[in-house]
């Protein structure tokens, strides 16, 4: 694995760079297999606090499996996942959530409840998993919807919203608990180039505003590199490259270069 230091993207101030020296999420030796198919075969990854780390790789290589293991939706066969030095299973408990150690997951297809309005979808984590009073939840939801320019759509159902608006509602729901870690599983799937850029901008903007750590899975190469501090290339069940996007094409003969060429990565100079 090629291990690099410091993103150097120039997007964030000194406060963020100080925070980003600290390892927030630590994955060691993570393994997961389905039958005879070894999807993850010893993944090691250190994600710095308040950074945006993007996992890239071929389709079906196990990127979403990795995120689902982090979210406890799949149980790893082996390995350790630590969030702020604590096993991640402990960090997930609601009492810890209130203490500020929490994460959210933004699903590829948004996973919005279609029988609830946008506002109710956003409020759901607070209504069901916190002790915050109704009136306060209403205020927080209104504020979040306003931030994401969704105030006019608050009382509309997901079926009545456009793809981009659904993404924003899903993002609002992911951020309403003020999580420290947000896992994004292909957040731009099915969006046109303009909306894709809008979602990436939104993630970068809200990361700066709320200070969360973001772990993304994306196929949108090279667009996603513009907001990424680090890129992790998952191949054959392990992370084979980990470093800033600017160092992605250093070895033109490598398998990673082959993958990037196939992924249309020809705009290195723009990153």
């Amino acid at each position: 694995m090629v291990q690099r230091q410091r993103a150097g993207s120039g997007l964030f101030n000194h406060f963020f760079f100080d925070l980003m020296d600290e390892v927030f999420l630590k994955i060691r030796g993570l393994k997961k297999h389905f039958g005879s198919n070894r999807v993850l075969d010893g993944v090691d990854l250190d994600v710095a606090r308040a950074s945006v780390t993007t996992i890239i790789g071929k389709s079906g290589i196990g990127k979403s499996v990795l995120l689902k293991c982090l979210a406890n939706l799949l149980t790893p066969d082996a390995g350790a996942i630590e969030l702020e030095g604590q096993p991640i299973a402990k960090s997930r408990q609601s009492s810890d959530r209130e203490a500020g150690v929490s994460f959210s997951y933004m699903f590829q297809n948004n996973a919005l409840f279609d029988s609830m309005t946008a506002a109710d979808n956003v409020a759901l984590p607070l209504v069901e998993a916190s002790k915050i009073k109704r009136a306060e939840i209403r205020d927080q939801v209104a504020e979040m919807l306003a931030h994401l320019e969704l105030t006019d759509s608050a009382q509309r159902y997901p079926g009545e919203l456009s793809g981009g608006m659904k993404k924003r509602v899903a993002l609002a729901r992911a951020l309403i608990t003020k999580p420290q870690l947000v896992l994004f599983d292909e957040p731009t799937t099915g969006l046109d180039p303009e909306r894709k850029f809008g979602v990436f901008e939104m993630i970068a903007d809200y990361r700066e505003r709320f200070g969360f750590t973001a772990l993304l899975v994306s196929h949108d190469i090279p667009e996603v590199f513009e907001i990424s501090d680090k890129v992790a290339w998952l191949d054959e069940g392990i992370i084979k490259f980990f470093g800033p996007p600017s160092e992605l094409n250093e070895d033109a003969e490598s398998a990673l270069s082959g993958f990037l060429n196939k992924a249309n990565y020809g705009r290195k100079s723009n990153v």
Partner: protein, 258 residues
């Protein structure tokens, strides 16, 4: 062949065990849920109120047919005065709880299995888990409690409407004296018959909604196909297994009660 039988038996036992643990987890999850009362009221509306018209209609026609069939059987023996006993006991002891359960399975049970199957495919259940919400407690717990509360009430309504249906054909159409009919209803049906029917209804409520919820919730693991076909398979199997379970449980409970 013996090996295959043994394997099937082990599968059934393991499924039953898994389903029992699922139901217990759902009830435990419901106890620690927030806004339990609101969820319970919604579930009672889904299982109880929405099923009321179908239970009422089926109860009425069952009573009408029972009155007709039993009248022509009893009249051959010169015992048409016993129509009230025959209609009342068969409805209160057997037909009321069993047909009510089958109707609720057809309406609320299949809807529950499909809804949970869709939510599973759409990753809504996963989303709940990532929010720190107990998905079994949130989606299933209230429905199980509502089923246990609603099935006996729906059965009581079925019994009353069915007995009235028997009166319509037996007395109004075929001429059995109304006083005789109602007197026999009153004198033949004892508290044991009524409570036996309610015990069955309680058991059927818990069993059927558990099966439907279990099949829907585990669509991704139990169905042979992914996507929409998986959901439809889950819903179909939920209804079939619930219906078979109602009849099997009816036999077991009846043999204990008699």
């Amino acid at each position: 062949m013996i090996r295959a039988l043994g394997r099937s038996a082990l599968t059934v036992v393991s499924e039953l065990g898994e389903m029992s643990l699922f139901s217990m987890a759902a009830l435990r999850g419901f106890v620690v849920q927030r806004h339990r009362l609101a969820k319970l009221v919604t579930a009672i509306h889904e299982i109880g109120v929405r099923c009321l018209p179908i239970v009422f209609t089926v109860g009425l026609f069952t009573g009408l047919v029972m009155g007709l069939q039993l009248y022509y059987t009893l009249v051959r023996l010169g015992a048409e005065a016993a129509l009230g006993d025959a209609v009342g006991l068969s409805i209160v002891r057997e037909l009321g709880p069993v047909l009510t359960a089958l109707m609720v399975v057809g309406q609320a049970g299949s809807a529950l299995a499909s809804e949970l199957g869709i939510q599973r495919n759409d990753e809504q259940i996963d989303a709940l888990q990532t929010m720190g919400v107990d998905s079994k407690g949130y989606l299933v717990g209230a429905r199980l409690v509502a089923a246990v509360l609603c099935f006996p009430m729906l059965t009581a309504i079925f019994d009353l409407v069915g007995i009235f249906g028997g009166y319509l054909t037996g007395s109004v159409l075929l001429g059995v004296d109304a006083g005789v009919y109602w007197h026999h209803i009153e004198s033949s049906i004892g508290w044991d018959d009524v409570s036996g029917g309610f015990i069955k209804a309680l058991a059927f409520g818990f069993i059927t909604i558990s099966i439907c919820a279990y099949r829907g919730y585990n669509t991704h693991r139990k169905a042979s196909f992914p996507g929409v076909r998986g959901v439809s398979e889950s819903a179909t199997r939920a209804v079939v297994w619930s219906s078979v379970s109602v009849l099997a449980a009816d036999y077991l409970i009846t043999s204990f009660l008699i």
